[in-house]
Symmetry: C2
Subunit: 162 residues, 2 copies
DNA sequence: GTCAGTGCAAAAGATTTGCATGCGA
DNA sequence: TCGCATGCAAATCTTTTGCACTGAC
């Protein structure tokens, strides 16, 4: 498990290797991203960064998250609601998948070796060599079933925000 | 396996039940959708329908695909490239998942009972009652590995179109 | 000093919506 | 006839881009 500081160092090093510059904006955005809860939308990240540095533009957030993706420090996720979200990637950490509550939007991560293995087998049977995959399970979480689920936070479109 | 005619009948019936009208546009869009190869984008569908009925607007395609989703005749898919696509849903047909070739964009469908069962177990362990799920495997298909893969068709954005 | 990086605004792409008109029941 | 459905255009949202200016190296 990488620490925030380690990730930040990876980012700085990657910039240097690519001949790109370190700037206050990039640093602030990367730091906000590394410090974040998982599964942030661009808008979440923009708001977080603005708290620290109100001089950051929306475009720079997009440009920087693209850099973070290239450095494999951010993973882009397209969940069923169509919203694009990003999460901290960690090369040392095991791959994981998501279970998402249809009612409250809660996202729980899990990983399961026999599942991974089964997927490899299925792909091989179809003639594919697997590079990566995405699995999302959708259902109702225990809290919601028992009627004590917190009301789901929604964005201006009324969509659930995890 | 439902035939096109059966799906069309389901659609007609659903409209009637909801107190909605059958119109030439809705019929043409539904027919084009049912007749289609799988995984159409809105734009694909729009172009198909225009071949038959050039008097159909983009908005109506969006409005009608939304109806088809409500009738569970269309499934919305958000693949990793971010493009929204729709496929024919069939309640009588087994649920299936996708393997997607990273190189040529080919999409192969499969279904596997032990996989489904394993997912149920994992979800239950986490306190979820599963409603549905999405699994996409990404890798390189045999044809591409052996260097005889067809060049992938791409849209105006340069994205692979399955 | 140079040139990549930035903010802003504008553009571009995807989807939705308001409204006057059309047409199915 | 009465409303729902439609086409169009305009509005919204998301993401990208052009450009003049700023700041890292």
């Amino acid at each position: 498990m990488q620490t925030r500081a380690e990730r930040f160092a990876v980012f700085r090093r990657a910039l240097k290797e690519k001949g790109l510059k370190s700037t206050a904006q990039r640093d602030d955005i990367a730091r906000a991203f590394f410090a974040s809860h998982r599964h942030m939308s661009i808008d979440d990240l923009y708001r977080e960064v603005r708290k620290v540095n109100p001089r950051v533009g929306y475009a720079t957030v997009y440009r920087t998250i693209k850099l973070l993706k290239e450095c494999e420090l951010a993973d882009e996720q397209h969940f069923a609601d169509g919203q694009t979200r990003y999460e901290n990637a960690d090369r040392e950490e095991e791959h994981h998948d998501h279970v998402i509550c249809d009612r409250c939007g809660r996202i729980v991560e899990f990983s399961d070796d026999s599942l991974e293995q089964l997927q490899e087998e299925i792909a091989a049977r179809l003639g594919f060599v697997l590079a990566h995959h995405r699995l999302e399970l959708y259902g109702i979480c225990r809290e919601c079933r028992e009627g004590r689920g917190a009301p789901a936070p929604t964005d201006r479109m009324g969509r659930v925000r995890p």
